[in-house]
Symmetry: D2
C-alpha cells in the first residue's frame, strides 16, 4: 500500500499555540482538537508542550494525534495555562522521535518550547557555527538550530520577544514559528510568509495556528493572518506585535492552495476551497474537452473537478468511492492484486462512468504511477474516454521552503514530454494548469505567491547544492 | 464523540467466502481485502476461518479489519484452500467477542464454520428447543442456533448441502449465510432475500460475498446475485445450486439502497449509487425548493444531493469537509465544545454557503440531534436559509430483519410532527422522500422491497413482542 | 531461551472459587490474588467468571495473570457475589484461547461456569457420544465434555449438585472441578483425588482452591482438604457435602510434592516444603557422596538441597543466582552464546563452588539438556567434582492424569542407562531417588500416592493407545 | 503494591560497552544480554547506542530490558561494530524518557554517545556555566553536563580520550563513564572509584561493564577492574590506559557489597556473595541469639542469613517463598488485604518457622514498614520468637554519590532509638551490623570503602545544601 500513499507531494507541518485568559479553557484539549484539524499537514509525528505556571511538560511521539494522545496520555498531562502543539511530516531531519516537536529546552533564562513549520536554507551553516563554540545537538532538526539562535540572542536581549526579533535576520528561509517561554507565547512568520500563520480567539483566550480551520475546530474565531515578518507576543498584557521585519516582498507557497491547506481554511485572505474550484475553472478554459462527465480523484481533486464542471457545463459526477477504513497498518497486497494496488483504496462507481467520456481531475501528478492505475480502474469500469487534467502545473524543480517534492529522477514531468506522459498514463488527453493560471487561483490573497517548484525561480537565495552538516548523517538512523 | 457516531441507523454484517482452484490464490489475503471492502457493513468485530485441507483455523476479535488483522496475525495464519470472513455490527446478541464470527464448531461430521448476515425471528424458540435436548450455548448469537439446526439435520442428511436445505424451513427471518465444511463452501440466502448475497470469480476460484464491491476489491469479477431461497454449493466438482426454496415472494431491504450498501455495489440488478441519485431526484420532484446551492452531508448524503441538483438545476456544492483522521479513540470534547461536538468531525466550507439559500440532503433522520448541530454549523458559516431533505422516509417502526433502527422512543419522527421536527432542527423547510418514492429508487432491481421500518407492514411474521430466551441476559455482559 | 523453559515437566492447572457472604469482600480482587498464587500451576492462559446476581461475566486470555488482568480489565469487571478463576497449562487441547477457562455456557437451566484441573481418560468417547446426539463443540478441551455431561444430567436432576453427582460416574480420570450456577458454587474432586483441592474461609465467605497457598495469599484461612470423591456445594444455606463417591482407593499425584505444588502449601495433610526436604534427606541416605558443599538448582531444587545438607552434614551453599528479570519475550541468544543458553538465566556463584566438590540437587531430569549446561557452568566456575542428584525417580512412563511429561523419545532416562546419562551430563556421579523413597516423602499425607510416571503402574484404567476424537485435530491450530 | 517495592534503597545505574574485533560478535545482542545481567542496578529505563561504522543509532525508553528491547526493536537495529548500553534508576533528574541513557549528541567532531553511573556533586554549577555561554539543555540529567564538559575540551584537545582526560578535573563526585566516538570506545572511572567498572574480553573483542556478572552473562571473561581515575581507550590499536588521575585516595561504596551489586560479581577484588556471607557471620559475632532457625528475606537477605547460620551453628532454613510472577502492573490490593500487602509477594513457609525461635536476616532497614509486615507474617505462621538482624548499619545520612537513600524524615533509624524500632517492628530483638563490621566484609577488596550514609563522613566535598539549577524544576514533570 506504500505506493498509494507515497505518490504525493508530502505535506509538512502544522503549529498551534494557546494562551489562556480566565479559568474556563482547557488548553490541552484545545490543542488536541486543533491538532486534529491540522493533521493533514503532517502525519508522521505530533506533540504538545504545556506550560503549567512555568513548569513545562511535553509529550511527542511518532504517530497520528489519535494514536499519540490517548485518553491515558491526555489525562496524565497537567492542565496548564499555555500549550503549544505540532504535527509533522519530516522535510529535513529524519522521521525519528528525536526530531518530533515541540522542542522543550532549558537555557540561561529557564525553559523554552518551540514548534515550527518551514525549512531553513542556512541551517547547516548555523549548526556548524554553534558546534564550533561547544554546542551539542540532540537532533538533526532545524528547530534545534532555531533554539540555539534565539538562546544566543537571549544572552543579551532584554526579553524573549526581543531575542526572537534579533534572531530573525540570522534565520534564512521559511519559518512559521511558535515559541513558549515561562510567561509568554510568541508567534513569528518569516518575512516572505512562505507558510501560513494566523491569530484567533476562543472566548477571551488567544490562539495562533497554521490554518484557520484549527481555530474553528477548537471552537474559536479567526481574527487575522499574521503578517510576513511579524512577531506576535501574547502575555498578561494582551497581544502586541513587532513589525521590524515586515514590509518586504512576500512569497506565499501557491501549493498551499492547490493541495496542502484544508479547503475550509482561508489563507491570507483567500478561501482554499474557492482557489481549488478556480483552478478547475481555469483548467476548463485552458483545456476544454468534449466529455459526458467530470469526476475528481478523492479527496484532493474533488473541488477542482467541481470547478471544471461549473465552468465547462459538463455534468459533475461522483466517480470513486474512497475506502475510509484503510489504516496505516494495511498489508501489502498479494500477487493477484499487485498490478493495481489502488483498487483497495479507490473504487470506481461504474454507474457514473460506464459508456461515458470522462474528465478526470486531480490536484497534481508526481510520479504518475498511481494516476496510471486510477485510469485503468476507469477503463475497467467502462469509461470510453479518459481525459486527465492536473490542477497544478508540472512539478519540475525542488522546493527549499518546506514541501517535500519528490526527488527529480522520480518526477514524471521532469523526465518526459506531455505526450510521453499521456501515453504512460494511458489517457486520451492530458493537461496541466499553466503557471500563469495557478498564480490566479488564490482570489483575494494579500501576498505574492511562490511558484518555485514549477519554474525553478525562487524568491530567496537557495543552497548551491544539497548541503548538510558533515556529521548530520552520522546519527540519522536513530528510531528514538 | 459517541453522539456523533451513534445517531445513525446501524449497519449490520458482511460475509465473504472463497474456494481456491489452482495454486495461485492466497485465500487469506483475498478475504482480508474483501473484508476491507465490506467494513462499512459492520465495524464492531471481524473474523476469518481458514480451511487448510480440513484443518480449520479461526481468528476473530472486536475491532476493525486493520486492527484485528495485523501483519503478525496474517502471517501466523495458514494459507489454506478455503476461507470465510465476516464483519459485524451486533443486531442481536451483545457486542462481545464470544459473538464475533465466523463460528467454528465441531459436530458429528467434523468441523464446520459459519458466518451470517441477518436476524432470525424464531431464534429464541429454536434455542429453547435445543436446550431442552441437552444443548449448551457459548454465545447469544443467532449463528450458534443456525449451527445447531444444521447439525441436527446433518445427523440424518447425506451431505452438508442437504442438511442446509433441510434446515432452511426451520429458520425464520433474514439470513445470508456462508458455511464451510472440510471440503465444501456453501452459501444460502433466505427465501425473502432480505439481505444481499452474490457470486463471483477470481481467476478460476469461486467467491461469494454480501456485496459486489468486495469481489471487485479482491480483484475478481461479479458473476450473479444468489437468488432468494437459493443454496449454492461450491466443491471440487464446481458450483451447483439447490433451488428447492426459491420462487416465493421476495422482500429485499430498501434501506440497503438508501444507506447500508456501498455506492459502487450493484445489488440484485440495481446500482446503489444510481438508486441514491434517484432518491435525490425524486426528492426534488416531491419537495421543490428555491435555493442557491445543494449540498450533501458526507459521506452518505452526497449521492442524493447530486441527484437533487441534477433534477432541480440548482448548483451542486461541496459544503463540508469531513475530518478523516478522527479515530475510534477520539476523546470526549471539553466544555467549550460540548454544545456542538459535530464541529470536530464536520467542517463547513464557508465559501460554499455564505450568503446562500442551502438545500441540505442527508440519507435519513434518526434522532435528529446530529442534524440539528449540522444545521447550526451552516448558519454560523453564513447560510441564509437551510432546507433539510431526507432521502429516506420517516423511520417509524422497528426492523426485525437485521437492521438496528434505534428504539422507538428515540426516533424523532415517531414522536413529532414534521412541523415540530422542522422547528427542532432549526431549518426553513423539512421534507422526507415518500414511501412510494423510496420504492422507485432501485431501478432495475429484480426483487420486491421491504419497507417495514417506514410502514410497519412486514413481509413475514414478526414476533408479537420483543422476545428473548429467558436466560439470554444472564451472560450478556461478558467482554470475552 | 525456549530450551531453558521447556526442559521441564509442565505444570497443569489451578482452580479457585469464592462465594461472598456479607458486603465486604471483593470477589474479583480475591480471585485475582488467588490466581497470582496459583500461577505456578499454569502460565499459558488464565481467566475468571464473575456471577453478578445471576448475570455471568467472563474474561479469559492467553497470558499470565498480570498480563491478562490489567487495571483496565479489572475495573471493567462487575464486582459480583461469586467468582471462579483458572490458570492453565494445556495438557489436552491446544494452547489456544478457545480452550482457556473458565468456560461459561448456557444450558436449559441458565448459565453455568466451569473450571477444572485434570485430565479425563474417556473424553474422546464422551465427546463422540454427544456429537452423535447433535452436540456441537467449540473447543478441544475436556471441560466442554464435562459441561455436556453435567448438562445432560441436569435435564432430569432436581439440582445442579445432584447433576454433578450423577455425572461423576461417567467421568473417568482426574478432575478437580469448580462449577458456578446462578446461585451455587460447587467443587468436586475425582474419587482417586489425583489433584489437590481444598476449602477455606475469608471472613464469613467461603472459598475453594487447588492449593492452600491461594487461600492464604487472598487473606483467608485454610479449613480442610476436599476429600477424593466429595462434592462440596456452597450456597445461601452454607457449605454442605455429598460424599456418595467417597471412600474408594485414593491416588494423589506424588509429583505434586516433588515439583508442582508450591512449597508453602499443605496438600492433603502434608507440607510440600517438608516433603521436598525429606526427598533431599532420603537422597542423602540412598546416595551418600563425599563433598564440600550442597547446592540446589533454583528454584525447585533448593528445598531438597537443604534436606540433603541437613541429613549429610555437608554444608549448604548458594550456588546460583537466578536472573529474575528474564521475561517471556526474551530473545534467542546469538551465536556466541548458543552453546550454553542457560547462562543468561542461571549464574554460578564462583565463590561457593571454586575448588570444591559439589553436590548438585535438582527436582528431576527430563531431557537432560539443561542439566548438562548447568553442570558445565559449575565446571567453568571452578568446581572440582560435580555429583548430580535428582529428588524424583527416573521419568519412564507417560502420565494420563493431568501432567505433561515429555514424550517418551525425549525422556533421557527412558532411553539411557544411568551410566550413559552420567557421561552425557558430564558429572562425577549421578543418582535418583528411588520409587520407594519418593513414596515416603509426603509425611502426614492422608492419601495414597500415584507413581505411574515412574513405574508404569496406574491406579485406574488408561487408554490403550493415544486416542483422540477423529476430528479433534481438524481445528487444532486456531489461535482464537 | 507500591509500598512493597519502594521501601528499599534504590539501585542506580549500570553501564556496558563493547568494541568488536573480527566478524563474529553481534554487538547488539551482546549488549542486550549484558543489560539483562545489569538490570538489578536500574529498572526504570534502559537504552543502547550502536555505532555502525560511524553512524549512530540509539534506542532508549522507560521500562525493563525485556519491555524495551522486543524482538521487533532488536531486529530493527543495525548490527554495528560498537555498542554501549545503560540501565537506570534516576538518582538525579526525573524518571522521564528525556533522561534515559545513553545520550547521543552531535558536536563539532561528530557524534558522541555517553552512558554513566554516578552522581556529580557540581552538576548545578557546571550547568549554569554552560547556560551562560548559550548552551541549551534537553534534560535534567548529569550526563548532558558531562557531554558539554567533554565537548568543550574537545574543541582544543587532539583526541576524544585527551578531551575526557582534560574534562575529568572539572567533574566532581562519582562517575563510571562509557563514551563512544565514531572510532573509539572509552571508559573512565572517577578518582575515588565510588562505583565499580571493569574490563573484559569476549573472544578478541573488548568489553567494559559496571559488574563482572555482565561480562560472564555475555559469554566473556573478566580481565581486570578499571582503576579509580583510570581512562581506558579502546580502538583499532587495542586497549590502552591513561592514568594521569590515578593514585589518589579511594572510596568505593560499601553498599555495593551489601545490596547493590549482584552476588555473583567480583568487585575490585572482592566476591560480593562472600562479602554478604561475611556480613552475616560478623552479625552473628556482634549479635548472638539463642534460636532454632536462621532465615533470610528473599532475595537480598539470603546470603547473609547463610553466613549467620554458618557462624552461629543455628540451622539455616528456607523461610519464605517469593512469588516470581508479580509483574509491574500488579494492582493495589483491595480492602481485606491492605493491612498486609506483603503477603501477595512473600509467603512464609510455616513448616520452617512454626513453633520455632527465628533469626530473620535482611540486608537493611529503610522505613521499616515492610519489615514490620514480614515479621507479622512469621508470627501468623507460628514463629514463637523473631530476632531481626540487619546486615547493614543504620541508615542515617544522605548519599551524594549515586545511591538514592530515602529522605531523612523517612529513615526509621534516623528518627528512632533501637528499642523504639524494636517495638515498632514487633520483634524480640533487633540488631544492626556495626560500621566497623561493615568495613570488614569485602575481603580482598583493593579499595577503601565509603560509609558516608552510615556515618555522615564523606571522602569528598558534598554540597552545602540540596542545590539544584534554579530552572531545573521548571520542566521536571515531562513524561517524554
Amino acid at each position: 500500500m506504500k505506493e498509494i500513499w507515497s505518490d504525493k507531494v508530502h505535506e509538512e507541518c502544522g503549529v498551534f499555540g494557546v494562551y489562556r485568559r480566565g479559568d474556563e479553557l482547557d488548553v490541552v484539549s484545545t490543542t488536541y482538537y486543533a491538532l486534529y484539524a491540522l493533521q493533514h499537514r503532517g502525519q508522521e509525528s505530533c506533540g504538545m508542550a504545556v506550560n503549567d505556571d512555568g513548569v513545562f511538560y511535553k509529550r511527542r511521539e511518532l504517530g497520528l494525534v489519535n494514536e499519540v494522545f490517548t485518553k491515558d496520555v491526555l489525562e496524565s498531562m497537567p492542565r496548564g495555562n499555555m500549550c503549544i502543539g505540532h504535527c509533522r511530516y519530516a522535510t529535513t531531519g529524519t522521521p525519528v522521535r528525536a526530531n518530533a516537536q515541540p522542542f522543550v529546552i532549558r537555557h540561561v533564562k529557564g525553559p523554552m518550547a518551540l514548534a515550527h513549520n518551514g525549512n531553513l536554507t542556512n541551517a547547516a551553516e548555523l549548526r556548524e557555527e554553534f558546534e564550533l563554540m561547544g554546542g551539542i545537538f540532540h537532533s538533526t532538526s532545524d528547530t534545534e538550530v532555531i533554539a540555539y539562535t534565539i538562546t544566543r540572542e537571549r544572552l543579551t536581549a532584554p526579553s524573549i520577544e526581543k531575542a526572537v526579533e534579533n534572531a530573525m535576520p540570522k534565520l534564512k528561509g521559511a519559518y512559521s514559528l511558535v515559541v513558549m517561554s515561562p510567561r509568554k507565547l510568541i508567534a513569528a512568520r518569516d518575512p516572505y510568509g512562505f507558510r501560513p500563520l494566523c491569530l484567533g480567539k476562543i472566548g477571551d483566550s488567544d490562539v495562533v495556528a497554521s490554518e484557520s480551520c484549527a481555530i474553528h475546530a477548537a471552537g474559536g474565531e479567526f481574527v487575522r493572518d499574521i503578517e510576513p515578518g511579524e512577531i506576535v507576543c501574547i502575555d498578561e498584557n494582551g497581544v502586541h506585535s513587532i513589525r521590524t521585519h515586515c514590509g518586504k516582498p512576500t512569497s506565499l507557497c501557491v501549493f498551499e492552495f492547490v493541495y496542502i491547506a484544508r479547503p475550509d481554511s482561508v489563507v491570507d485572505g483567500a478561501s482554499v476551497h474557492r482557489a481549488r474550484r478556480r483552478a478547475g475553472a481555469l483548467l476548463a478554459l485552458e483545456h476544454p474537452v468534449q466529455a459526458d462527465v467530470v469526476i475528481g480523484v478523492p479527496d484532493s481533486g474533488l473541488d477542482a473537478a467541481l470547478g471544471y464542471s461549473q465552468q465547462s457545463g459538463i455534468p459533475y459526477g461522483i466517480g470513486f468511492l474512497k475506502n475510509k477504513y484503510i489504516g496505516r497498518t494495511f498489508i501489502q497486497p498479494s500477487q493477484q492484486l499487485r498490478e493495481n494496488t489502488v483498487r483497495i483504496k479507490l473504487n470506481p462507481i461504474a454507474d457514473t462512468v460506464r459508456g461515458k467520456r470522462v474528465v478526470l481531475v486531480d490536484d497534481s501528478i508526481v510520479r504518475g504511477t498511481t494516476s496510471r492505475q486510477i485510469v485503468q480502474l476507469l477503463r475497467e469500469a467502462g469509461a470510453t474516454e479518459v481525459h486527465f487534467l492536473s490542477s497544478a502545473p508540472k512539478f519540475l524543480y525542488p522546493c527549499y521552503f518546506g514541501v517535500d517534492v519528490d526527488s527529480r529522477e522520480n518526477l514524471i514531468a521532469a523526465n518526459h514530454s506531455t505526450e510521453e506522459m499521456r501515453q504512460m498514463l494511458g489517457v486520451d488527453s492530458l493537461g496541466f494548469l499553466s503557471v500563469d493560471g495557478v498564480k490566479k487561483i488564490a482570489e483575494g490573497c494579500k501576498l505574492d505567491l511562490c511558484t518555485g517548484c514549477f519554474t525553478g525561480e525562487y524568491p530567496a537565495e537557495v543552497p548551491a547544492s544539497p548541503h548538510k552538516s558533515k556529521f548530520e548523517k552520522k546519527i540519522s538512523e536513530s528510531a528514538d
